[in-house]
Symmetry: C2
Subunit: 220 residues, 2 copies
């Protein structure tokens, strides 16, 4: 249909674009938009600076492309949940998803956080609207669950905020967490943290914890 399908992923252009985006993700997460040097992105990608500007029209263009990539991570199973689904399972999976993103894409999470903290100057009105619409639909599902007695009467907004806050924290504040624990979060630690979190939130909503998320506190 269109010849711009450069997602072939093995053309020289696609490979370089990918290298640059990966390098940019690290740099922007580490220094913010203004603090990031195009030269440093180039160095990290092992390409000359001019090359970076060749593939992306400008620093801002690169940033926006990266941001778009990142926002696509925000979609998941919870998006299609309905009142018929079991809240315990849906919420537990949602939390697990979010935690998995924090573990595998911490820099993406950080860039998003920086963007929001600074007043979301680069998030398009389209994204905001879409997000607000998503939110309204999710809130409605949660309210239906409550009406059906599947869930105790929690405020849907605060519930979702709490989930985001805690999950994001493991990515955004990883430096502090590592400092305070004396060691970085390993794969197993994330599993534990996830179980803890699921237990906390679900217990707070008066839900039974799905088997696979039970903590092994008591070994009897």
């Amino acid at each position: 249909m269109k010849q711009k399908e450069y997602q072939k992923d093995d053309t020289i252009g696609a490979v370089n674009r990918h290298k640059i985006l990966a390098a940019a993700e690290v740099e922007f997460a580490l220094h913010g938009f203004a603090g990031t040097r195009v030269q440093h992105i180039a160095d990290r990608a092992q390409l000359p600076k001019t090359n970076v500007l060749y593939y992306f029209r400008s620093k801002e263009g690169l940033y926006l492309a990266l941001l778009e990539d990142i926002l696509s991570l925000w979609n998941g199973e919870f998006d299609e949940a309905t009142a018929e689904d079991e809240p315990a399972q849906v919420l537990a999976n949602y939390i697990a998803d979010k935690m998995e993103i924090s573990r595998t894409r911490p820099d993406a999470s950080k860039i998003f956080a920086l963007e929001i903290i600074n007043g979301a100057p680069n998030l398009s009105g389209f994204f905001k609207d879409q997000h607000a619409t998503w939110m309204k639909a999710r809130v409605e599902v949660i309210e239906q669950w409550i009406a059906l007695g599947k869930l105790s009467a929690v405020d849907p907004y605060y519930l979702l905020f709490n989930i985001w806050a805690t999950c994001q924290h493991y990515a955004d504040f990883s430096v502090q967490i590592t400092e305070l624990r004396g060691k970085p979060m390993e794969s197993q630690d994330f599993i534990d943290a996830t179980k803890n979190l699921v237990e906390l939130i679900l217990k707070g909503c008066g839900l039974k914890i799905p088997d696979e998320f039970h903590t092994n506190k008591v070994k009897s």
Copy 2:
């Protein structure tokens, strides 16, 4: 003892220093360190740029002075809690304190968050050590509570991380929260959010909620 006690608060120098710090807090929170212009701080403080550099040796000097101010907010009642105290009351108050900071000093919270996200490049080793020491002592108290049966067996680290994450979220992500709720968080909303949060966390720890933090879900 020393004549450098310019905390008189009404000398011309003290007043200007204060104005500059307040302006800097807004600007740094909004644009990050690298993205902030000294000129903009000066404009906001309604002083010429040279004046800002006169009171603080450099942009970095100003930032560090501000950061020091901000870190002093992190002290509170929980610092002196012991195993004899009641966990429900101590934790509830701690959460309420943190939420109050998020409400009244959101920019301070944001600057701290930016600092951590970017790898804490300006937090002194001294602060980190102090913080780690504080953490160890708090963890110990929580473990004693658990040993005494005052608290169900939660991981103290995850418990504290959860509290910080959720409380900070209301400051750092205020833009998103406003966007999704369709209106900014008012004083009363913070009270509700705090009660919700206290209920969630305490319930998760198997604690009874102190009267003053009860939500008014059921009016009977």
